[in-house]
Amino acid sequence: MKCTKLICAALAFTSLSAFAGQEDDALAALALQRANYTLEQAIEKVSTDYAKHIVEFEIDDHDNQATYDIEAINLETKEKHDIELSLADGAVLKHKTKNSLSRLDDDDLLALQELQASKFNLGATIAQLQLKYSADVFEFELKNKKGITFYKFKLMGEQGLTRVIVDVTTGKVIPVMKH
């Protein structure tokens, strides 16, 4: 029942939208609904096996198979991991490692340092957000702007697309100003 509502909302959102990006968001949400391997599991696996700090996540496809595309960074070893995990069973379909963080700008590095210094729990935050907004996180990224380090989450639920910004230092939600 929930799935049907979500598909309707997603399709309605997609039909009203003239942008391809918004279609992708809806399709990503659909793919998540069908996933056997959860986002929390994927985050846990990447954090444990590759690098602790996850800076970006989105739903992608690999050989027509939906994947969790996760970018993680290990500050100690200065490694950047790009991992694609199957939504179906969590299998690693692609893994690229870069042994340099030279492409990161000052804001990105500052964001990573603040994330490292904080007690922010990404898995727990995602679980809370999904529960609070009754929606699935299908995309997030770590950013630093104006000295504030935050995760920008995109959630798709019955109410459509929701953006939630969470301050890494305080763990609190930053209010979003409505149009």
């Binding site: 702007k145 104006k146 504030i148 935050f150 920008k152 953006r163 910004i165 301050d167 305080t170 609190k172 939600v173 930053i174 209010p175 979003v176 100003m177 409505k178 149009h179």
Partner: protein, 470 residues
Amino acid sequence: MVSVTEWWHSVKTAHSVWRLTRLYTGLLLSVVAILLVVLYQLSIGQMNRQQQLQMANIIAQQTSLAEQLSHEQFIEQFELQAQSSRQYILSYQIEQKNFGRLSAPPTALSQCPTLSRFPIWLDQFDEIRLVSGCSQPLASGTLIIAVDDESLYELKGQFISASAIALLLAVLLGVITGLVFSMRVLKRINNFNQVALRVESGQLSARVAVSEQNDEYDHMALHINTMLNQLQHSFETISGITDAIAHDLRTPLSHLRQQIESEMLSKQQLNHPSEQLQSMLDKLDEILFTFSAMLELTRLQQQKESNSQHFKAINLQQVIVDAVDLIEPLAEEKQQIVTIGGAEQFSIQGDATLLFRAIYNLLENASKYAGNNAQINVQLTPRGFTVSDNGPGICDLEKEKVFQRLYRIEKSRQVAGFGLGLTLVKAIIQLHNGKIELLDNKPGLIVNVEFIKPNKIKMDESIDPNIADA
């Protein structure tokens, strides 16, 4: 590094320059600071005050509406106002529900009118903004009012940076201009001081240089020069009269002495008593000695003036040894001990005979006034020498007066003397670019003599043969 230290030391010791510079810099800094504060209050301060006033009006309006309207009506009007307000971000929270512009209540928000800064996310522009806001509890919920004052904050930051730079420049400008002006003023005042010092040391012809600027310093210089001219003229007149009297009386007094001497011889040949004539002769000798000393003093001072003396390098230690040798028989009569101390070996440009006379005179004074069994010590110092004794000494009030012509301390009047000894010593020391001062030895007296430019003697340096003559 050494020159910088020297410069700093000279600047630090030039108190008046430093004081003037500090005062000038302080005034300049105060003026700049006042201007900046006024400018801030008229621009950013005014904008802040206006913003706070408008926020207070909105809060008062919403408080009043919350009391007058039903809950639904209030929410309806609030949503309308929140949507229409472009400058202020309005949000109303009832338990977990949010109305107005914000999706969630900001954390750690202070109560109005105190504002606190918090971030908000602008979906429309995909950016984060820092706004200032506060919360106000109303009847059924909490009103949140905020204003996007990031530009004002940036302006404040820029103003503070600009103010800091302006104040720093004011300090630099103040210090540089203050130092330049103060040093220029002080340089001219120092000219006056230099001339005063030269006059004080006996160079009565010294005059203050007058510039072409014709300012108040030049006027002062002219007045001081006129005053010095009159002073020099008066001094020369008095000195001339005294010397003329001494000179003119010396010849008849010498004739008188010869007559008394021949009269004495006649009486002695006739076996008549001649004690009275001998007493007269002694007194006449004293008068002649005084006149000779006065004339010599004048000659020494004139030599200082004209600087016509041709000095030679003199080994001061040798002169002291010779003077001590000569005083020792006199000291032995009074069971006094005379010692020489100090290993300083230096020479000065001077006249060995005059220096010998000065040192001998000091030793003679010490022997004369220190009393029996006294200890007299001559000590060579890095810049001159000291003659000390453990006698009664001289009280502070009279330490300067004893250098005046014919001045005698009351308690020493029973001892033979004319009050010209120390005056002559001082004239000789000054002739050698030195200075003399009297200090307490507790008990006793220390006569400290320092020369401006003594030269260290190398071990193989020969001693002026004049010393032997002395």
